[in-house]
Subunit: 209 residues, 4 copies
DNA sequence: AATGAATGAGATTTCATTCAT
DNA sequence: GATGAATGAAATCTCATTCAT
């Protein structure tokens, strides 16, 4: 079965090659400029061969997105083990998330900005009860619960806080990606300030006093 | 020179007509469905005439975006007159901004997500010193200054706070646009919670105590 | 309004040019080999210009067909005036029909062989009651009625006879078109034999004796 | 040489398999939807293997057509054995022919309407002397001869009559195929009337009296 | 100022076919 | 004998843009 395996690997590599090229084009020229032709040219194959590896353009796009959230989720959840204060964990998680996503800006943008049902099934988190369904938001929620464990705060408020943090962080990431030319230093300053200060201020629910 | 002026006015009217049509198409069908032909059909002129008033499609798009920022800025600053507490003003500004942008989601997305220099010239605000150059951010900054007028806080920290608020609000807006199917009620809940609570928490710089 | 008229004429000429080219291709290579590209190449224009004159391929095809039956109907009905015996008229009509259609084999084939609803609305005549709805078949029917005026024959039988004649003539025409290389002489022999003898034999309803 | 024979048989089986698949596709989706890939998928082989058994698509098509005529001829001639009057035999033959062809309408249409030399070699029958070369027409001719055995009719006239019958029947079949939506009942009525009455009228050469 | 004719490039997709293995 | 990778041509259609008038 060696030969079969090799072939499978080759296929996987080709698919990966295609997806990467697609990602690049999307980040360079925008989602709407992505075309089968362009991908083919980039990987120096004929356009038709792409249909060997994917059924159509949409399938390529869906896979670009999938690669997106898979990588991100694994990046975030891996850093979860540490036994420090929940506040510190929150800060660390936020930073990890930002750093992980900034390593793959193209996939992130495609995934987060797509309005297709397929994408939204993975990315939506604004609905009521999202903390119980969405793994990433759930991590955030657990953190907040730990932080508020001595206070009496309604679940709803905690969910809204978690969603607000998620939304804010998303905004930061998108803005950093779009403003691609702020220097490295300024980027770091903002990320640090945001995750080390803003996040903690957000957590600071005034009702708790 | 009356005739000259009249012509200029006519030209301006035609340009306005074109931009409005383009805006409508973008709102109705999305940015990628915008085409010269469609604009022409909508205003009942031939496609070629558009090239009398604009050099190419991109110029039209840039102007659509410009109209976008203008509308938004005026929406925000109009609410600026009230003589209430700076905190209340901040909350109100945020809400106004969110509501104004959600009325023109596609133009907003196009403008905010474009990486073109032309667009970034208007939309960028993460660089150091942005509060002095960007009108919208400047409003925010003034508000914060009022809030912190009795404390000693470095300008830098205030700028970073302003930028964080801007970034977070952006994230909220984008997310609401993308998750187009959360119901009206939940949308309101999140917007209210975010602008009435989260924003105020963010302002609450712990160093001030 | 001279200029407007001229333009209209030019458009009509161009449309005619396109339709003729399409007809030729269909007859040379078959309906399924017809392509926008081929038409364009034949008339030495770019493929896109065709969309100036027709909305899409289907519209071109429909017009090729329309040209088909229009010409034919006019060919047949024009020769209708003569005041000879009904038998002679029948023979003459058949001949006229055959000769007329053979002058435009391509259009005839497209129209008669298309299974599209649009086409069938014009070409179908096998259904019960067709003699009352289809002008061409009706002519045939009137002829038969004249022939049988002294006999007692049910309407149904006459209709079936008319349909049989129509069907048979159709078969002859198609076969002559497909077998494009039987010589002129043999073609004439068959046409004459068919219209002068076979048709009259068909009319010869044995029940009338 | 057993092995050689086995291989030949296998090849023949594979060719048969391919042709059957092609036939099915043509019946189900129409000639123009036939593609090498579809055939391959249907027989669960790779497209390339088809080129082991046939030189190209056209060869496959030609063979599909050949299978077509064979089936039809066998259908017609099988009914040939009965020892009834020649008239009855003629009627029966016609009916059998119509019924047999209507069971494979697409193959029939392809074959009968193709102007390719290859096809015409099998399908043409309008040329002078066709009754001596074309098996199917020859059957018809024999029938007519039997019918006219007591009369003095020139061979030529009989051939022309045979050709006329063939042509008329062809027209009927084509029309029934194209007008796919006349109901079953009306179809039967017409077929019966045509084969039981019209055919006999055609045979009724007036010179014989 | 305005139009309509025309083009060429590009979009996605399907297909017959070849070739190395 | 059989496969899968790969290609190039072709299909329909849309678009931004130019140009003569």
């Amino acid at each position: 079965m060696n030969i079969k395996k090799r072939r499978e690997r080759e296929i996987e590599e080709m698919r990966e090659l295609i997806l990467k090229a697609a990602s690049n084009i999307i980040s360079d020229e925008g989602l709407d400029k992505l075309s089968i032709r362009k991908i083919a040219k980039k990987i120096k194959y004929s356009p038709s061969i792409l249909y060997h590896y994917f059924n159509d353009k949409e399938e390529i796009l869906n896979n670009v997105m999938k690669r997106g959230y898979k990588k991100i989720i694994s990046a975030v959840s891996s850093a979860e083990l540490k036994d420090t204060s929940p506040e510190e964990r929150l800060v660390q998680m936020t930073k990890n998330y930002i750093i992980a996503t900034l390593k793959m800006p193209d996939e992130f943008m495609v995934a987060q900005l797509s309005k297709s049902e397929e994408a939204l099934r993975h990315t939506s988190f604004l609905f009521k009860g999202a903390v119980r369904e969405k793994p990433a938001l759930s991590l955030l929620y657990q953190c907040l619960k730990d932080i508020y464990k001595n206070e009496e705060i309604e679940e709803d408020r905690i969910e809204l806080t978690a969603q607000s943090i998620a939304v804010s962080t998303l905004g930061l990431i998108i803005k950093i990606i779009v403003e691609k030319d702020i220097g490295e230093e300024q980027k770091q300053r903002i990320i640090d300030f945001f995750s080390e200060e803003i996040i903690l201020r957000i957590v600071n629910d005034s009702r708790t006093k």
